[in-house]
Symmetry: C2
Subunit: 352 residues, 2 copies
């Protein structure tokens, strides 16, 4: 099949090609792609949430092992996750792309297939964007708009001493998945080197058997809409919340700083998957460190008043890992053997 | 003075440094920078407008002659312009930056000073963004949110035969400004070459005397808030509208396509500034071609019903350049000598 080039379509043709036939599902979407602005209408009983993310090739993703469909899916998902982290529901998304010449229309179809998959399952409308050429790699900028009941947005600043600290799902798996992918990439390039000049190169296939879950956590994270819906159903209004993108330590320190409080969390309560633990052992890494600092799990970290303890105990896939203290008590991790350590942010710092 | 590096501040420190003490002026802004999302509240009698732009170094701007403060100003302004082009008023903006190591905190202060200047004069709140490292040049992604009376957004699709085609300000000046800057850049590099090895290099200063207006139009464009306010005051609801970013021809063809109609415009009525015409002559360029295809003027192109003709005649800085016809009559430019030409889009196509 002939691969159509982006140049043949032109900027406007490309946008039309990518966004045609995207059905709009939300009442709040009045007009999507195709004019100077998208037009939305929200009831005034709703507060509107806006978040934006910039993703750059070579900094945030590596196309040598990330398929474009997965990249589209993840790029959308990390933005939806920010809306959930405010206790809201995402409704609209805009996508801007900077593209170098090496990308074909089929590549972008793949990328958009991932975007659409994420948006469909979270009932989000694609309402706009911008497409431009890039001198270098792929640039992705996504803005997501959502809603929350007026006055009910959950900030980082509302945690109070004695509040219980909760985490959804499990931590460290996405980081382990990244380590696996990086290892296989290194092996691949090493084999390329060894096979130089050979007529029949011998290349071993990467072996990810038994590690599918870790790869999925890295390549296809799932924002926790289910947790937000469940909290609402149970009548729980968290006092503070964030999504875990940079790592549990980093996010918890943000909550403590903004809420002017301290925290005590317990190593033994940090939720881990079996595969994460077993892979960490194979890599000779400390699994707790991975869970604290790995990042990219896109799980929810939130605090609730002590009075909600029983409700939380009944929630599936949510673990209580400690509690909020006064600022004077510091930010502390209690290890399995009872030792105390100060929590430090060692999460990804994208300014290098 | 020691220039502080971005690394010393870190990502969160940098965002705090750049956005601290930005006062919020709009009632619809509930919470600005500093959480997973910004929080807004709009009355349901308002429709919300959302637009986004991605600007890449080497594609959209050239830092050899664009000062960072001007770049910030213009980056904000082009987004505000998209909201005005829907007949609305911009209210909030988010700014994402991808930064390579060569930028200092002072550079970003300059850039943000430009952003703030634009936002202050248009009463827009900076409510969020993202800051990340970049392997290559400067990446800027801006999203602007605004409001318009419910149901009153002006689309590209509402023009009807006999509607009058109007343009604010004058056209082609921004393009002439760009040509001037490009010429001086070439001269500069040529002088560098000629002075190689010389102990006392002789570099002539660029001479822009008498051309300040053209440079200002290129480096510091002004979105036409005043025109939108005046149209409202006069009770004029345009049937279609766009801002002129790619060039008059390109935008007019968009309106004709989306409105399923044709147009007749008259060369003699296209508004030109004296400096544009005189500079075009110096460059041996056709000034009408510059006005039709130059782009980046950020003036407003709009259509109004014939019944509004007298009101438009009374408006300062708005010219009637022709009228809408049925689609069968084509999209036509009538030259000064009465010849007819089909309008063609030769505007910037950023996909190269």
């Amino acid at each position: 099949m002939n691969k159509k080039t982006i140049q043949e379509l032109g900027e406007f043709g490309l946008i039309k090609h990518l966004t045609d036939n995207i059905p709009l599902v939300n009442k709040s979407t009045v007009k999507g792609v195709g004019d100077d602005c998208a037009v939305l209408n929200y009831e005034s009983e709703k507060d509107i949430l806006v978040t934006t993310d910039l993703l750059l090739e070579g900094v945030h993703f590596d196309l040598t092992y990330v398929p474009l469909k997965h990249l589209g899916y993840k790029a959308a998902m990390v933005n939806l996750s920010d809306v959930y982290a405010m206790g809201g529901m995402p409704k609209q998304i805009t996508i801007s792309l900077g593209l170098s010449k090496r990308f074909t229309v089929e590549d972008l179809d793949e990328f958009y297939a991932g975007i659409r998959l994420a948006c469909n399952s979270h009932e989000v409308d694609v309402v706009g964007g911008d497409t431009t050429s890039s001198m270098t790699g792929l640039t992705i900028s996504i803005t997501c708009i959502g809603e929350v009941e007026k006055g009910k947005a959950v900030y980082r600043s509302g945690a109070k001493p004695t509040d219980i600290i909760c985490v959804s799902g499990n931590l460290g798996a996405a980081y382990m998945g990244l380590q696996l992918l990086e290892r296989e990439k290194a092996v691949f390039y090493q084999q390329l080197e060894e096979n130089k000049g050979k007529e029949t190169p011998e290349m071993a296939e990467p072996d990810f058997a038994g590690r599918e879950y870790l790869l999925e956590r890295q390549l296809k994270p799932e924002a926790r809409r289910d947790i937000i819906l469940k909290l609402k159903e149970l009548g729980i209004q968290p006092t503070s919340m964030m999504d875990i993108s940079d790592g549990l330590s980093s996010e918890l320190l943000h909550i403590c700083e903004d809420s002017k409080c301290g925290c005590r969390i317990y190593e033994e309560h940090i939720p881990l998957d079996y595969e994460t633990a077993s892979q960490a052992e194979e890599f000779n890494m400390n699994v707790t460190t991975c869970a604290l600092n790995g990042g990219e799990d896109y799980e929810l970290l939130f605090t609730v008043p002590m009075s909600d303890k029983e409700k939380i105990e009944d929630m599936e896939d949510v673990k209580m890992i400690g509690y909020i203290t006064s600022a004077d008590d510091g930010k502390v991790l209690i290890t399995r053997d009872g030792a105390q350590f100060d929590l430090k942010a060692q999460g990804w710092n994208h300014i290098q």
